[in-house]
Chain length 339, copies 2
DNA sequence: CTGTTAGCGCGTTCAA
DNA sequence: TTGAACGCGCTAACAG
């Protein structure tokens, strides 16, 4: 069997004690002389020494690893959040390890949480994953700081960083209204037992009320933010729908809506306008480009790391900015139809 | 400070020795009685015990973790490979931890490799990451099995699993030829100091030769598989290009080409045909849908795990299947122009 | 089937 | 500035 070189090997070669090697390698300034340091470092290099993380973590009881738990949903914005996390973690010398949990798969979720917890990582960031009560308990009992990203929580004690989801729904609706739309639908969002979706729907309804627009249950189409749920919604609305504007739960859902509209012989944005929620690069590569309510994903990531690093964990709710990015999928309506 | 409960605590509560607790919790069948097992499990549950992975790994010198190192390139097929890895790893009770290495960022790459190696994971899978010599040495010296995925290697001793990249280039070209195209370009691939790209280009040239087609240096456009490199290639070709068919290095590059063609007033596929290399879901959500040479990403993932688990590491080169998926971005040419 | 003992590799006292 | 000794939590060998 292969045995990795340990500090003892280095100690022997350098003619010092293991303790000294430990000190040098950990850069405990002031606890060793420069000549011994040199001997130790040379020996370490020659032997190809690599520190055993398990041993270190066992004795220090702390880790330089930051776990990110991602669900496997076919969302494409996770990358942006992860980019933000990496960017913030790198200068702090934190290693980011990413763990996938299945969608709504409690067992995989549990395993992901467990691997993080059992390694006593310094913190856990959960990317748009909804945990059940058992797994939440698991998380809480571990005494490791954690924070939800890109998801809203009702429980005030749970820390999360995300967009103001109510405002997202409101803003998308308001934008369409301002562009002259009066018959506005919302599709592809999950508002059943999922706070994020509920809030967006609520914002949508609030805008409807404020602008005295008709609320039509047929125009609210539940889904899971997927391409397919967009397609399905649009085919349910049908070719002869009275809708002129649709809010899509995600970029992917928006594309599903758009393609299905085209299949039905409808033109975007001439016959039907679409506002996507998210605003990732997908909005820019489809034709026409999608107007979106864009979220600050990258920032969610950096703020997440900041939060974990911050001693003061009193703030549990952090809101990142959103804004409408106008592209090509919304037509401005004028004339008697709309005014 | 918070102290986690250990097997000693359980031992005390259950009135047995720590060794017995260890056996029960590790399910060493046949080494404990059912009554003691029950006592132990109850105590463990009551105390909210969680195994300390560092301690276990320290003594057993092995890990149930499988590290996947991903580069940060904006490729979108990594998810499929990772899905395959997860699927193969789950039933084997392996935890998959994903580490991001920057693009061509040797330092981040080193850190990613180090975190994997220092934890003595059971294996390392590298997803389309090209390592420099130093990092390759690091990898080799660790005595941990590793395998490159979705990338070709020339060094026969390095294990890798990917498509036959030469064949990818050949097949795409041949397909266009069979559809009546005679002026065929290739764009968005990196064939400078990158084996994968070199091979694809080689396959392209081989097909050209075989079918006695003209090879025009202007039709070969280097790039980095990105959307932008597709855009750039197309605008360099220009509106009046003699090309009728273009092979794109990736789905994203294909979309870049398509959108730029449209900007130039060219219609896809009527004026210009495109074959994308990869065949991810992006091909199906754009309009027109992209015909592609599709790779078996999911399978690369499952095979990668199999390879790590396999005792016999003699086979270093594994090829996964490719095939042309016909969609809507290639027009069949007939008439004197082409025949 | 179970307890005792030893030690994985490292960091950290305490003495010197 | 350095070394000896101890222990982190756990598993493995051995004895019973």
């Amino acid at each position: 069997m292969f045995l990795a070189t340990t500090i003892k090997d280095i100690a022997k070669m350098a003619g010092v004690s293991a303790a000294t090697v430990s000190r040098v390698l950990a850069n405990k300034e002031g606890f060793f002389g420069s000549s011994t340091a040199k001997k130790v470092r040379e020996a370490a290099a020659k032997l190809g020494y690599r520190k055993n993380t398990s041993a270190t973590e066992l004795v220090t009881r702390k880790s330089h690893d930051l776990a990110v738990i991602v669900n496997a949903t076919k969302t494409n914005f996770s990358n942006h959040i992860i980019d933000g996390i990496q960017a913030a973690a790198f200068p702090k010398d934190l290693n980011v390890i990413i763990l996938y949990a299945g969608d709504f798969d409690a067992e995989r979720q549990r395993r992901a949480i467990n691997t993080a917890v059992n390694r006593s990582v310094m913190g856990i960031l959960l990317l748009s994953v909804e945990v059940n009560d058992d797994n939440l308990d698991l998380l809480k009992s571990a005494q490791i700081p954690f924070c939800f990203l890109s998801i809203s929580e009702t429980d005030e004690s749970l820390p999360f960083i995300t967009s103001d989801d109510e405002e997202v729904g409101y803003l998308a609706t308001k934008y369409l209204y301002q562009q002259g739309h009066r018959n506005i639908g919302i599709a592809g969002i999950n508002y059943k037992n999922a706070i994020t979706g509920e809030l967006r729907l609520h914002g949508y309804k609030r805008a409807l009320k404020e602008f005295k627009l008709q609320e039509n249950p047929d125009w609210i189409s539940a889904g899971d933010y997927s391409y397919e749920s967009g397609e399905l919604a649009m085919s349910t609305y049908g070719r002869n729908t009275k809708l002129t504007g649709i809010i899509a739960g995600s970029d992917m859902a928006a594309i599903g809506i758009m393609n299905q509209a085209r299949s039905l012989g409808l033109s975007v944005p001439d016959d039907i306008s679409i506002v996507a929620i998210d605003g990732t690069e997908l909005c820019e590569i489809v034709q026409p480009q999608l107007t979106s309510v864009s979220q600050s994903f990258y920032e969610m990531g950096t703020l997440g790391v900041d939060w974990l690093l911050n001693k003061d964990k009193k703030v549990t709710k952090t809101i990142t900015p959103i804004k409408v990015i106008e592209r090509q999928s919304v037509k401005r309506l004028t004339g008697k139809n709309s005014f």
